[in-house]
């Protein structure tokens, strides 16, 4: 495949000042057991080629299914026609890159496509059955997903590389209804089956069966639990909720294309501007954020991004101070950076690369375990597992809901509270961060539903988190 891409790009017309071609072959499998039956059992295989060119000062991208010379040439011709029909605009240079060469693949122990359907269904049935213990449970779900993506990339600048990644994940959820009350409890998380770039061993590590009794008990308990009261409180966020908090109020805000207004019509802009890099205080001294595309197991881990830029680890925020942004070759060049941040990612062959998160994580602190952090908190709330999320188009004003809250009284976890929510302003909220749990409490959380771009692209990213404590947070807003 790489030879084909290289050959076609070797013959691009001279009016084309840059071209890249990407072949993507994807295999996916999704299983869902619901309410005692196999609800969905889907498998898909696709492959195709996307070609991006610059010609006449404009950019064009065309994608077509298949992997024949004719399909690559057809995509190239269409991309050129699209580029040359664009209204004239100032040239937008690309930051320089060392041409990508070689092969990369992610490590895994058990290929999820080698695990039989029967074995996967047996695991899901075993967990799901334990959720059906009460007539108020109107829906019991156990689901798993497996994914393999093979990519070949070549460019007229000499890039020629291939990559292969394997991903999988799983989750369970119980939905309880009593009258007008509806409560959901899930494990290990509520977004994207907590998937990782890993083999089936990742799914086995969730211990779905052992966690099912707790999940259903909490779903039922929430039906009769008191509402989470409103007020300004100390809050400890569990790892999964903190992952989404980072995703929405740090990750997206630090996308350089947003700062440059390139996403103003859809995803939005940012309250951060390029001139803030190196200067802005984003949060407290406890806040250390990295973007790391080399992190084992991350959904945002790769050898090269979709512009052929080598994976990197970048400190975005150090001791609360903003240091860097997430960038691709175009946005990096636009603010005079010598190199891209390596954050250009595309959703399959039919979409072009745009600035996306890789694995944007909070670094571990020194607060010990979650139990240690709770013990160190006289009065507060522990919030766990995201249920609702919303933030403005500048990534400044947010409101989140979680599946569950627990009171913290005198350093101990207390009653379960239902319908918890909290709201805040990004730098104020992160300024209230005063403790992050230590490395043993840190883990990656996969987020599989990050939407951006037009036509829409769904990206899969991960966030490393450990439970963390925030002071003076407005809770009970919904």
């Amino acid at each position: 495949m790489l030879d084909l891409l290289t050959e076609v790009l070797g013959a691009v017309p001279s009016r084309c000042t840059y071209a890249e071609a990407r072949h993507v072959a994807t295999d996916e499998e999704d299983l869902l057991v619901r309410n005692g039956r196999v609800d969905h059992i889907d498998a898909s295989a696709s492959d195709g080629i996307g070609v991006r060119v610059r010609a006449g000062g404009g950019w064009g991208f065309a994608a077509t299914r298949g992997s024949t010379p004719a399909s690559v040439e057809r995509a190239l011709a269409r991309a050129l026609a699209i580029a040359e029909s664009q209204p004239s605009a100032p040239a937008r240079p690309l930051a320089a890159v060392v041409p990508a060469r070689g092969h990369w693949s992610c490590a895994h122990e058990i290929d999820p496509f080698d695990v039989s359907l029967e074995d996967k269904l047996a695991l899901l049935f075993a967990a799901e059955e334990l959720l059906r213990v009460d007539p108020r449970i109107v829906r019991s779900d156990a689901t798993c997903e497996s994914r393999r993506v093979r990519t070949a990339f070549a460019s007229t600048e000499g890039a020629a590389c291939t990559q292969e990644r394997v991903e999988c994940g799983a989750s369970i959820a119980a939905t309880a209804v009593d009258g007008d009350a509806l409560q959901v409890r899930s494990h290990p998380g509520s977004h994207g089956s907590a998937a990782a770039c890993a083999g089936w061993e990742h799914v086995l590590g969730f211990d779905l069966v052992a966690n099912a009794p707790r999940v259903v008990a909490e779903a039922l308990e929430l039906l009769v639990a008191p509402d989470c009261p409103a007020g300004r409180r100390t809050v400890i966020l569990g790892g999964e909720q903190l992952a989404l908090q980072i995703h929405e109020s740090i990750g997206h805000a630090l996308e350089l294309d947003r700062m440059l207004l390139m996403e103003a019509s859809y995803a939005g802009t940012s309250w951060v501007v390029p001139g803030d890099l190196g200067r802005l205080r984003y949060g407290s001294e406890q806040l250390n954020i990295t973007a790391d595309a080399t992190l084992p197991g991350g959904l945002g881990t790769f050898g090269w991004d979709d512009e052929g830029v080598a994976a990197a680890r970048t400190a975005l925020i150090e001791a609360g101070r903003l240091r860097a942004a997430l960038s691709d070759r175009g946005s990096a060049a636009a603010i005079g950076l010598q190199r891209s941040g390596g954050c250009a990612r595309a959703d399959g062959f039919a979409r072009q690369p745009i600035v996306r998160m890789t694995n944007v994580s909070i670094e571990p602190g020194g607060a010990g375990t979650l139990a240690d952090l709770v013990a160190d908190t006289d009065d507060g709330l522990y919030l766990e597992t995201n249920r609702s999320w919303s933030i403005d188009d500048r990534r400044l004003h947010f409101q989140f809901g979680t599946e569950v809250a627990r009171e913290i009284c005198g350093g101990e976890l207390g009653r379960l509270l239902r319908n918890p929510s909290y709201a805040g302003v990004t730098p104020t909220f992160w300024g209230g961060l005063d403790a992050v749990c230590s490395a043993p409490a840190w883990r990656l959380w996969g987020v599989g539903n990050c939407g951006k771009g037009e036509p829409g692209q769904v990206m899969r990213v991960s966030h490393g988190t450990a439970p963390a404590r925030f002071r003076d947070v407005q809770v009970g807003v919904a």
């Binding site: 889907d42 994608a63 077509t64 269409r78 029909s85 209204p87 103003a264 403005d392």
Partner: protein, 468 residues
């Protein structure tokens, strides 16, 4: 002759794949071919332009009430045979767990009419020509410049042909076209205005008019602030459309309804909105993006959902109808073969208009309120209450003494769709086809036809503030 012209049609591919499937179970082959062009722009310059030509084949096998799906975009016999084999193996594995709940594939019925008129051949050809996109962008840039503003947005057009062939002798074949343009105009201070247009035909999109409407909303006055509280509100159709899309998910989804999770569970026949609220799903209406059938092949027909404020029906696919029991049957709202795990969804909502001439007349009785042109990042807080939270964006204004007077800082709202429809006091006579133009995955363009409306007690739960 182009490759597209000589390629086999989706109906021919579906027929071939059906012939390659192993006998024994029920088989449905669905073939979707998408051709689309999307041009984005920012700061009055083109940014990304994407052309897509792809064909997907979904092979569904049903055994003992278990439906399994395998998809491919490789169209040779070996690939189609392999997909059919994988679907059959999955259905067999699933069936070993005991009887399934899928009621089986539909059969054709006499006299069915499946052509909803959603295709415009000339528009399909013109809409996929990149020159048309380039011209639309140039127009937007020029109009914005006349106002001293920059333009941001998207122009997109597509043609999607869907063919179904099944072992129950059902055959479907339909092509639909769609076009969408969105423009945000922005001044140097960051104040923005929004307008959009959705149509069946690309040549029905008037780039000049859309940009003009967006530019007119960029008001140079200082931004006023509105604190948390309840206010009378006037929503433009784009905002109403977002609320109705959520109503479709939370209240009108037959699967949620049958499982007791829906906001209308146990409430059909009851008043749930203000008198006068009329909501139908009208897939044949030329005012919508018409569709003749759903992805199970069930023929679509008009369905009254809310009549004079009283909940009358929810939408079903074959799976949710079977779960609902009694007299329920599919209303033609499956969004994928054998239905989506998320349940069926209305695709052609039409909210009836009222008597008001325009938004000015809607605002006239309001002493102090809010005028909202666009909502953003709306998400569900509590499903059964249809309680949502989200932001206003790109044009929020204060209403004072019956007139739209000044631009407002965006606000956060936390409110219930059913409560807002219950508190609706007036609607404009004119309706508009609106869409967010969000086209994730395989292109499935849809929109809502609705008027602007005035409602009482819109709950603003937070404001926005500058931090430096």
């Amino acid at each position: 002759m182009s490759a597209a012209a000589t390629a086999p049609s989706p109906a021919e591919i579906a027929e071939r794949a059906l012939g390659l499937a192993a006998p024994g179970g029920e088989v449905q082959v669905t073939v979707v071919r998408e051709r689309a062009l999307t041009s984005r722009f920012a700061r009055s310059a083109p940014t990304q332009a994407t052309g897509v030509d792809d064909t997907e084949v979904d092979i569904l096998v049903v055994r003992d009430g278990h439906a399994a799906l395998a998809s491919t975009n490789r169209l040779d016999d070996d690939a189609l045979r392999d997909a059919a084999r994988r679907a059959d193996a999955a259905a067999r594995a699933s069936a070993r767990s005991g009887p399934g709940a899928y009621p089986g594939l539909p059969e054709p019925e006499p006299g069915e009419r499946t052509d909803a008129g959603g295709f415009d051949a000339a528009a399909a050809a013109a809409g996929l020509a990149p020159e048309l996109a380039g011209a639309a962008l140039s127009t937007a840039f020029a109009v914005a410049a006349e106002h001293g503003l920059e333009a941001f947005g998207i122009w997109t057009a597509g043609a999607v042909r869907t063919a179904i062939a099944s072992s129950t002798d059902l055959r479907r074949d339909e092509e639909v076209t769609d076009a969408f343009m969105k423009v945000i105009c922005r001044d140097v201070a960051g104040r923005t205005g929004f307008a959009s247009a959705t149509a069946r035909c690309a040549d029905a999109i008037d780039a000049q008019a859309v940009t003009w409407r967006a530019a007119e909303k960029v008001d140079g006055q200082p931004l006023a602030e509105l604190g948390p509280g309840s206010y009378p509100v006037v929503f433009e159709p784009a905002a109403v459309g977002v609320l109705l899309e959520f109503l479709g998910t939370l209240a009108l989804n037959g699967l949620s309804h049958a499982e007791g999770r829906g906001a209308l569970s146990g409430r059909l026949g009851s008043a749930v909105c203000a008198p006068g609220i009329e909501l139908v799903d009208d897939p044949g209406s030329r005012r919508t993006l018409p569709r003749g059938f759903d992805l199970e092949g069930t023929v679509k027909a008009p369905l009254t959902l809310i009549q004079d404020g009283v909940a009358r029906a929810v939408v079903h696919d074959r799976r949710s109808a079977a779960l609902a029991g009694a007299a329920a049957r599919s209303s033609g709202h499956a969004t994928r073969p054998a239905g989506s795990p998320y349940g069926p969804s209305p695709t052609n909502l039409v909210l009836g208009g009222g008597d008001a001439a325009d938004v000015g007349e809607l605002a006239a009785p309001i002493e102090r309120g809010i005028y909202v042109t666009r909502l953003w990042y709306v998400n569900t807080v509590r499903e059964k209450e249809t309680l949502l939270t989200g932001m206003t964006r790109d044009g929020t204004f204060l209403i004072e003494d019956g007139a739209i007077t000044r631009p407002l800082r965006d606000v956060r709202f936390t409110d219930s769709v059913l409560r807002l429809l219950g508190a609706t006091e007036a609607l404009t006579a004119a309706q508009q086809l609106v869409s967010e133009g969000e086209l994730y995955g395989r292109r499935f363009a849809h929109g809502v036809v609705c008027p602007a409306l005035r409602a009482g007690g819109f709950r603003v739960s937070g404001g926005t503030q500058e931090v430096r």
